[in-house]
């Protein structure tokens, strides 16, 4: 009897173990699979321009499935040949497209897609769907990954994202127009649906250098400008710019859209090189439109500088905008035209080290948008349509924009190494910082950076290396505060960073991180913290912190931001030997 019982339990136990094992293997397998699989994005075909109301949901067309299935047949199966150059394709679909009416457009799609599917089915080959609902798939779940990313602080929108999109677009203010949201498919219309679907190709320094290498630095193969007199595309050295500079969102006369140009020219070059058995780029959608990670600046550190003529160092001032600039000033009812002359400029020119800043970008477009022109050509003193209303001053100084000088510096300051001190002094363009940029008179001064000295030159002699903070003496032993060590470490961090070296001009700067709002002089004792931060926390209207909060927020805030230890109570506050009893409060 006993024996039977033990065998029974053994068998059951083994069975359970086996199930767990299966489960574990299964989960590992599926996760690995997930990592391997790239996200397959459909192109949504709906012809919104022709159809006012969609009777059925847009077609979800998987391009890469078709390219791999029709590898032998080639692109010609679907795409028509170019009229001028017969060997080239025009990447439009369908082959015979008639856009006379919505019905004819629909017919041309249906006859092309279904015709092919039927033909292949007749030959007994594996092929795509033949019924309506299989192509016009109604999406139950919205395709979250297709939507544009929201800023971080709109986190609450992220999860019930669609609900909140609708909530705002229903109300319909200026930013959220109801017509911008397609209710049926739950996606945001952004000048043609396909745009929102695929991630943009980031043509960074790495990709550019790969093309330079592959094409033997023949810039003319890609870059050109339009010569009006000759009515021809010509290459002129030194005028290279981004494709989007001319090829924009919509066809302008002969200029095709960027989308058309990029697909036909890039893909054809790749194809031709493949036929000639040369090293060629990819054809599949997902190979260029790569999901997720972009190459970091560190990964591209070894890439040589691009050869286009550009300033290494430059002086930025209105000077280069012409002799005088007209500005409209209206204090009263009548707007007045005022001439601003170069001599009138009151701040010094900014000396800008172009070459040094290239190392902090992944592509020229990170600062120059879609052109390679200077900022002032679009961002005028008063703002223009060309510069989307952003004035020249804003273009350099807007703190909330990642494009502007200050905005980009602010982003840099929010990184781990700087955030310790800078997270509390944010949005801070101090008066003194203007002169850091607006100061250098000659080009030679551009690279001049200051280096912070050793803490011993700053500290008063009687100040010991380690300080004891006895605020919570009743409960804990005094906290040891390694004052000098902290200054030394922070000075090292500052001296490592180019940005810091440039802006930390005052040698007392490093003290400002903690001893804020105080006039600083070396070798002098600063006012104590409790001068402003009262040790008695009572309700105060001004919201000035108490001493307890000031200490803890200063120390722990910095430790958290810079990922330093200690970050718990015991790390600073050593326990007293005799634990105080409950009554001794």
């Amino acid at each position: 009897m006993k024996k039977r019982l033990t065998t029974c339990t053994f068998i059951i136990g083994a069975g359970i173990c086996f199930f767990f094992f299966l489960g574990a293997v299964g989960s590992v397998h599926s996760e690995a699979e997930k990592a391997e699989k790239t996200i397959e994005r459909p192109i949504l075909i709906s012809g919104v321009e022709m159809f006012e109301k969609l009777e059925r949901p847009p077609v979800q067309f998987y391009h890469d499935r078709h390219t791999s299935a029709l590898k032998e047949e080639g692109c010609g199966t679907c795409h028509p040949n170019d009229e001028k150059k017969k060997e080239r394709f025009v990447f439009t679909y369908p082959k015979t497209k008639s856009e006379n009416s919505s019905k004819s457009l629909m017919k041309s799609y249906h006859s092309n897609c279904l015709g092919c599917h039927k033909e292949m089915a007749g030959e007994g080959k594996k092929t795509g769907p033949l019924t309506c609902g299989e192509c016009h798939v109604a999406r139950k779940k919205p395709l979250v990954e297709h939507l544009p990313k929201t800023p971080d602080y709109y986190q609450p929108l992220d999860e019930p994202y669609h609900k909140d999109c609708i909530a705002c677009h229903k109300k319909g203010d200026d930013d959220h127009k109801p017509e911008d949201l397609d209710w049926k498919g739950f996606y945001i219309k952004e000048k043609g649906i396909e745009k929102a679907i695929w991630p943009k190709v980031k043509f960074d320094y790495y990709l550019h250098s790969q093309h330079e290498k592959g094409l033997d630095k023949k810039c003319e193969l890609c870059h050109h400008i339009y010569n009006k007199a000759k009515d021809k595309l010509v290459y002129l050295k030194g005028t290279e710019s981004s494709c989007r500079d001319c090829h924009q969102e919509e066809d302008v006369e002969k200029r095709r859209t960027f989308r058309k140009v990029a697909h036909s020219d890039c893909l054809h070059c790749h194809m031709e090189r493949k036929q000639k058995n040369l090293k060629a780029g990819p054809f599949a959608c997902a190979k260029c439109h790569v999901e997720g990670k972009e190459r970091t600046i560190k990964e591209m550190a070894d890439i040589p500088r691009q050869t286009r003529e550009k300033p290494d160092k430059t002086l930025i001032r209105m000077e280069e905008m012409g002799d005088a600039t007209k500005a409209t000033i209206s204090f009263g009812k009548k707007p007045e035209q005022v001439e601003i002359k170069v001599e009138d400029a009151r701040l010094e020119k900014v000396s800008f080290d172009h070459q040094a800043h290239e190392g902090y970008t992944r592509a020229c477009g990170d600062c120059h948008h879609d052109t390679l022109k200077a900022c002032k050509e679009c961002h005028t003193l008063e703002g223009s349509d060309k510069g989307s209303g952003v004035t020249l001053s804003e273009a350099y100084h807007d703190i909330s924009s990642p494009w502007s000088c200050i905005g980009c510096h602010e982003l840099e300051k929010s990184k781990k190494s700087c955030a310790g001190c800078h997270h509390l002094m944010r949005n801070g363009l101090r008066g003194s910082s203007c002169l850091v940029c607006h100061s250098q008179k000659t080009e030679d001064n551009i690279k001049a950076v200051s280096k912070l000295g050793s803490p011993k030159d700053l500290l008063p002699e009687k100040l010991s290396e380690e300080l004891d903070i006895k605020k919570m003496e009743k409960i804990y032993k005094p906290s040891k505060f390694p004052h000098q060590k902290i200054i030394k470490n922070l000075t090292e961090v500052s001296n490592k960073s180019k940005l810091a070296k440039k802006f930390h001009t005052n040698r007392m700067t490093i003290c400002l991180g903690c001893h804020h709002e105080i006039p600083l002089e070396p070798k002098k004792l600063f006012p104590r913290c409790f001068t402003c931060h009262s040790s008695n926390i009572l309700y105060k209207k001004t919201g000035t912190l108490g001493l307890l909060g000031a200490y803890h927020r200063q120390c722990l805030g910095c430790h958290k931001k810079m990922e330093q230890k200690p970050n718990d109570c015991a790390g600073c506050h050593a326990e007293k030997e005799a634990v105080p009893t409950e009554t001794s409060n």
């Binding site: 986190q155 609450p156 926390i537 108490g546 307890l548 909060g549 109570c569 409060n585």
Partner: protein, 309 residues
């Protein structure tokens, strides 16, 4: 008397319309007005809290009627692994939440009675054991309490706890806003005083709201752009700022209308100045009197009955 259908319905309709008499005003009749200009509150900035549990300790020390706990208990951080609620032995608890925005940087949130402006528990209490004080506190009077626990059912935050282990003199337990010992004497609550990060700020509610707005404006990327408690259930004395969506730190999504303003207009109207019940019974009496059987008819009816028999 014979009453036809038409007449009967007419009287009934008239009677019904009279019962509406007491319901004309929609303002509900709770003990205090919702807007007390000088009421105090506390602003909790959950982005600053480090989960040290000093507030729990201070709370236990100041409230002597809570079961005593050793100092060592409050140093134990392992209790944060579990999600806790306020109970008979604690007026406030801290919970830890995973932070999806910055993994490895958990968010801590302290909970206690929210001291609602228009508290559902005050409205639900049938003996007036719970009252809203002018300084913002919702105060409990154990002597009046009969232990019906309606307050526990009414609270939208499920705060009040009950001493189920105390058989003879059980009490309802919830944060007192340190009313007796501190706030009524011009001191600040013990938990606020004890917080080393000063994550809590005690002050006039309207100043706190201004302060909270300022913080959101200054550090827009750090906060969810909402002050929890500013308008939830008609406003609460304790306000929260958070970096995570509030439902992620166990603060439920609630409407902006106070709960008593749903229930009280009906309940209070029914008994307003005792007029509606008196009117109702008076009308019923009048109706009965009107329909009373007349003498002759009763006799004939009896006769008929007799014949039938």
């Amino acid at each position: 008397m014979s009453i036809d259908r038409r007449k009967f319905l007419k009287y009934l309709g008239g009677l019904g319309s009279l019962t509406l008499f007491g319901r004309t005003s929609s303002a509900h009749a709770s003990g205090h007005s919702i807007r007390m200009p000088d009421q105090y509150g506390v602003l909790i900035d959950t982005t600053l809290c480090v989960g040290c549990r000093s507030c729990e300790k201070a709370c236990n020390e100041i409230n002597e009627d809570l079961p005593r706990k050793p100092t060592q208990f409050f140093k134990d951080k392992s209790v944060l692994d579990k999600r806790r609620r306020m109970d008979f032995d604690s007026y406030t608890v801290i919970n830890r939440y995973q932070n999806q925005r910055v993994p490895g940087n958990p968010v801590y949130a302290k909970f206690q009675c929210m001291h609602c402006n228009d508290a559902a528990c005050v409205s639900a209490c049938i003996v007036g054991a719970l009252t809203k004080d002018e300084n913002g506190a919702v105060v409990y009077d154990a002597w009046k309490c009969i232990g019906c626990r309606y307050c526990m059912a009414a609270c939208p935050f499920q705060v009040p706890a009950y001493e189920y282990n105390n058989i003879l003199t059980p009490q309802v337990r919830k944060c007192t806003f340190c009313f007796e010992k501190r706030t009524s004497k011009g001191k600040i609550p013990a938990c606020v005083q004890s917080c080393p990060m000063e994550a809590m700020t005690f002050g006039k509610r309207r100043d706190l709201i201004k302060m909270a707005r300022k913080r959101i404006k200054k550090y827009p990327d750090q906060y969810v752009h909402h002050i929890y408690g500013e308008r939830e259930v008609g406003g609460t004395s304790w306000l929260y700022l958070s970096s995570l969506p509030f439902d992620k730190i166990d603060l439920p999504k609630l409407g902006y209308t106070s709960l008593p303003s749903y229930t009280e207009p009906i309940q209070h109207a029914i008994f307003k100045h005792f007029i509606p019940p008196l009117a109702w019974y008076g009308l019923l009496g009048g109706f009965m009197w009107f329909l009373r059987p007349k003498k002759e008819k009763t006799e004939t009816a009896q006769d008929e009955k007799g014949i039938k028999k």
